[in-house]
Amino acid sequence: MTDTSTGTRLPRAGEEGLLAVSARGLKKRFGEVVAVDGIDLDVPKGMIFAILGPNGAGKTTLMRMLSTLAKPDGGSAAVMGHDLLNEPGEVRASIAMTGQFASLDEDLTGRDNLVLLARLWGFRGRSAKQRADDLLAAFDLSDAATRQVKTYSGGMRRRLDIAASLVVTPGVLFLDEPTTGLDPTARQGVWRMIRGLAQSGVTILLTTQYLDEADQLAARIAVIDKGRKIAEGTSRELKAQTGSGFLHVAIHDPMQIEKAAAILEARLKHKVRRGVEGAELSVTTDSPKDASDAIASLIDSGIEVSDFRLGSPSLDEVFFSLTGHDAS
């Protein structure tokens, strides 16, 4: 992690000056639904920090609160050293937010969208146009600059939307599901851009439903589910939290899957997770010996095992063992 050079401010007491975001007990309710239910979050400056959670976990609501768009019902937070509730103007001046859904004027061209924002930030005349053109070039959108945004593809919109957040280099960039709906190439492009920004000191707080995205990109990951933070750490720490290893078993005959699951559960005393393919099972094991004993009892019971493997858990499996349900 590089140290931040943008938005440098005198640190307050203790380590607060080193934190881009610091939240305590943030809460947001919509009628009966508690969307965010008391979340603590500390994001060091210059870090890529991922918030991982399934649909409806409260990711968007959390991001909206931190970017001053939604008012917390409880708790407090500081962003780049400014209190969210008392200094929303200062918070806004030091952040940028790219929401889950593109916030662009579809009728205008890509260039006009950026010129509009550049002017709102205070760039005048030619310098606003220059700023727009630099951003378009950096995001590979120069060719589409004079086309209306409504003619853009999903990936182009996403890039323009992120570009729109970088008119002025923010201290913290909030990205709500930056790669949802993108093809693998476009996704790689966004990842490269995020890494590039972080390398030069921009703190990035992003949300994702993709476990591999959090794994690949983020130095730290907070897993949230039903409005609560259920785990936090580096990807390695989260994996370690799940147990010493994970046993993956592929069953030849899909009809025997339930029987096999029951045997594994009985032997290993951990909940068995069914794979997406149907004929695969995975389960935490406390030791390699337990794993081999379990395989042996499957074979003894006449179940044909077509493949098995012992390894560290994927983030998918981490999520499963933390929440008791799948991520999607």
């Binding site: 768009l69 205008l108 509009l116 924002l117 930030w121 070039a137 851009m193 590039g196 030069s200």
Partner: protein, 267 residues
Amino acid sequence: MTDTQTHALLGIQRPRRPSGVSNALVFGWRAALKFKYVPEQLFDLVMTPIMFTLLFTFVFGGALAGSPKEYLQFFLPGILVQTVVFNAVYSGMGLSTDLGKGLFDRFRSLPIWPLAPFAGLMVGDVLRHLIAGAIILSIGLMLGYRPEGGVFGVVAAFLLLFAIGFGMGWVFIVLGLLISTPMTVMTSGFAFLFPLVFASNIMVEPATMPEWLRVFVEVNPVSLAATAMRGLMSGAASLQDVAVALIGPAVLTILLAPTTLWLYLRR
């Protein structure tokens, strides 16, 4: 994105914070751009007043005033009011669309004057009123309308027209903030405007109306506006006519501008 390109993006400091007025003008520029990129809107804006002016003048004119030309002398200032009142719907619909698309989330997370986006909408409104008003006036002049108040009277009348449009603008801005489907903004706005516009003295003098309706028509702010417009354009307006015509827009602004800000900043 290459590394060199990334560097071009970074460490960009914010220029000096622009004034609220400058923010508002940027939004006004956006409203003007919409005419360029959404010319369909211009079509509505041009065709509706032409159609109404011609239809009412020739269909009602003979029956109501002896001849279309006579009627136009009475009707033209009124149709200006009607057009401006109905035109306010565009801002509300645009606002509702922008909110639905999440565009206002971006504006709200920027460190700018909170009322600037709305001031920008008003700039778009003024442009629309000017276009529609100029068209109606031109048709009127071609058909024989004569503003006895002269250039000064016409200019004063247009200023009053902008004030009326400004007041009405808040109604649709509030509707736009409250209602998430642009079509519903239009239909609910019109449901409230139709009685106000048609139960007024825009098209006919209220003399032949039943007592209860006449009472309403006489205090209807739309009638007061039409009366003042007629006075200004014919050079016979009293200060009092203009003052009572301004009550409506003033009350709307005083009530709805803070409501707008509250609805917009509510989070």
